[in-house]
Subunit: 328 residues, 2 copies
């Protein structure tokens, strides 16, 4: 049993749980080093066991797993009873009905274990970030060349894919389209401004970075407001502070500029094996930042156009270390 699983078992015992079930692929990878391709269930008691679907059987075999596992055809044959921990944000209601209905179910998430990173994990996020920076520098050249959003996004994803998996679909959004935070690249030519939001994976760990390039001087003022919001927010980060306080710092800066209501999403999120993970930097968050958490800081203003600036930072005892160096 490795250290990560030991920590889970320790918490299980403290909470007096009989079992913990884990179904999120990233969680299973984090705990075992095995990355499921299809729906796999991990059951933790005083030992661990995986229930792997038949379609993954040849894959699991080729991975040479060193722990107990069973290949299932229709449904995994899991018999749980007593107090069971499970991630209620991840398991669906049917799984709950099938396997947990007779148990006392307690919300139990591996995301909280994953939130604080060890040195190797930080190094992987840093390497993913370095790749993002290189792609961003190509983006900066591309978007000044009378190109469409879609052409730019395609070219950037193509270049990225030569060296890494993308962490999510890249966003290239100009003017009208840039006012939509989750915009899809359109067939329109880039004009006025452009938001580039991109991320890749290095050994399964994600990066996430956004820059907005501005070609119209009338909107520099908005850019400055967002940049100041980001700077102030990053300045206020340190271990022990409430995540919602950081969100508030950014929101307060934008309020002074009159853009508070145009900041229509939360300030940021943890990042690691998933692009979005624990903790949550939003006005409603109950999370407290801890040393060696890695989070994004990405204020934005969305009006007739959008401006967003995003960096990944490492939370330290007395401050934050910015992992991405790309100029703003």
């Amino acid at each position: 049993m490795n250290n990560r699983i030991k920590l889970v078992v320790k918490k299980m015992n403290e909470m007096d749980l009989d079992y913990v079930v884990v179904t999120r692929p990233e969680d299973i990878y984090y705990l075992t080093g095995y990355y499921p391709l299809s729906f796999t269930v991990m059951v933790i008691k005083d030992s661990i066991k995986l229930y792997i679907p038949n379609i993954d059987s040849t894959y699991a075999e080729s991975c040479g797993l060193s722990f107990e596992y069973e290949v299932y055809r229709k449904k995994p044959e899991i018999n749980l009873k007593g107090k069971v921990g499970a991630d209620l944000n991840h398991i669906n209601a049917k799984f709950y009905e099938n396997f947990l209905k007779k148990c006392k179910v307690i919300d139990f998430s591996i995301l909280e274990f994953r939130a604080v990173k060890d040195r190797e994990e930080v190094e992987k996020i840093r390497k993913a970030t370095k790749i993002s920076e290189k792609i961003m520098s190509i983006a900066e050249i591309l978007v000044s060349k009378n190109i469409t959003e879609r052409e730019a996004a395609l070219e950037l994803e193509r270049i990225a894919s030569m060296v890494a998996d993308k962490a999510f679909d890249f966003i290239v959004a100009s003017w009208e389209n840039s006012k939509i935070p989750h915009a899809k690249p359109s067939m329109k030519r880039i004009e006025g401004n452009v938001i580039i939001d991109l991320g890749v994976k290095y050994e399964h760990y994600c990066s996430d970075m956004t820059r907005t390039f501005v070609f119209d001087e009338r909107i520099y003022e908005v850019y400055e407001a967002v940049l100041e919001a980001q700077k102030e927010a990053i300045k206020s980060i340190r271990a022990g502070i409430r995540a919602k306080e950081i969100d508030k710092v950014a929101r307060n800066v934008l309020r002074e500029y009159g853009y508070e209501k145009n900041f229509i999403h939360s300030l940021g999120h943890g990042i690691g094996l998933s692009v979005h993970e624990h903790p949550n930097l939003s006005i409603n968050s109950e999370d407290i930042l801890k040393e060696n958490m890695v989070v994004t800081v990405e204020p934005g203003v969305y009006t007739d156009f959008g401006i967003r600036i995003e960096d990944v930072v490492l939370v330290k005892r007395k401050g934050a270390r910015i992992l991405s160096k790309y100029k703003k």
Copy 2:
């Protein structure tokens, strides 16, 4: 209220439900024409209402929605009571706890409504399939050129993305890697055989097609077995037949060749707005095929290498119409 919603309301009334909640983006698009970018909840009673998160507010506005909706910040303010229909395979346990705990919850899925396609939907799947065929013809040339799996996959995705969104990550898997049904393209050169599994979207509707190219005559026999399994399965398709019967036809052919245990997944699945949707063509399926369902037929054998052949077919009263024409 459009006809699709009317059919849902009709079934709701038959089942004596007070509400139906819908959260799968494709379901919401199917019913309203609005494609949510972030977590959106649709509540159906005698009218419909959407609860759209703040981050999608500028997007929703730009879509000019013609139905009632409310933008929520923290949590949607939904008060459901009585008998409520919800898709238990899709909603997570937390949503269940937050919004449905006091209700009598009945499993209710929009996927069943989506399974039978109208003429426009079939046309869109056909157009997506036509694009797939063009990409497959490029694939066939590419894979004979001493190229790696990853290079081929990248190039195919790049070409695809110029005309359409991909429906899923393309699979290019040769020999060792081809024995894993959900393989990721590796850095190895293509040798012996290669499975190409690709699909794109045309106006949100997916295609899905697999061909295996064989360069080693020792494995032709396996190819022939899989091809015969597919042909026989397709021949047995018609409205009214049980989906599991079709799966059994393919499995029986492979048994005759001695490969039944190497067919480690189900025969196929419905396809439409999602790549995998209702019905399910597997040995455990309780589904019955209906006229104008669109399904994949994709038997495979996975031994030291893999062979899979997949086409999309339209179920008709007396047989099946193959939508993909690419040669086998």
